[in-house]
Symmetry: C2
């Protein structure tokens, strides 16, 4: 049986995001999982997610890196606290800063693999490094500084 994705643990009120919300029928609904100490997410862009013919547009790449990283930050925070992801209060993160280096054009029409690695957990801040690969080649690198949502907002659903 497939394990539950990080995003499947988000409370309903945090599940509308265009990038990762399971309740957004128009969005990407990305799913992130542990892979040892790393985290992974695979996503196949749609034909309209084009930059120039044959290649994925950079905004989608940024979106995938962003949402996979905030999901990774959340999972890392639960892990660090020794808490299961369905325990309350929810630990959710927003992006304070996003950086993407586009190393080579990303081919369209194949699954993309985003791999995350927790670089640092410090207080309410988690820094996540990512690579985005297609057909085994790294096409982009990302770094996200994710900040935990204040407690008075965590309980919203």
């Amino acid at each position: 049986m497939q394990e539950r994705a990080f995003q499947d643990y988000y409370p309903d009120g945090w599940s509308h995001c265009y990038g990762c919300g399971r309740l957004n029928p128009d969005g990407h609904q990305i799913k992130s999982y542990w892979d040892g100490e790393d985290t992974i997410c695979t996503f196949t862009p749609r034909p309209e997610h084009i930059a120039i013919p044959g290649y994925v547009y950079g905004g989608l790449i940024a979106s995938l890196i962003d949402c996979h990283s905030t999901g990774t930050a959340s999972a890392a925070a639960y892990k660090a606290a020794g808490r299961p992801m369905d325990s309350l209060p929810p630990l959710r993160f927003l992006t304070a800063a996003l950086k993407v280096d586009y190393l080579r054009p990303t081919p369209l029409g194949v699954p993309l693999l985003v791999r995350g690695r927790i670089k640092e957990i410090k207080g309410r801040k988690v820094i996540v490094e990512t690579t985005l690969s297609a057909e085994g080649e790294v096409c982009a690198r990302g770094e996200v500084i994710a900040v935990q949502v204040p407690e008075h907002m965590q309980g919203e659903s």
Copy 2:
């Protein structure tokens, strides 16, 4: 009469981008213009471009900054060369690096203004700084390093 947007000068082969291509019926089709020495683009996100209720998701913000910046780089390169934007060969740019600082949540349902400023033009590289504002408040800051597409690809249409 409204002036032509930067993106309306892109050759057909470069006009499919989900963020800025005038030939992508599913995409954002952003339009960028000069505003003195700055460049501007306004875009009103759709309801599904949500992060949490009431706010815009970060991936869209990154996309707007990205495409407005490559458009700005193109316009700046034509200007620096003293050439009109419909002259050949086309000067098109791809993103080498994108950085976004999310300063505050960006409200959903109002027009967003992306303002670009050319920080540096050096050889084939243009660095563009941007702010993204809603209702007069800066919600995000961006920096894009855009690199001119090699000449053998510029002629594609």
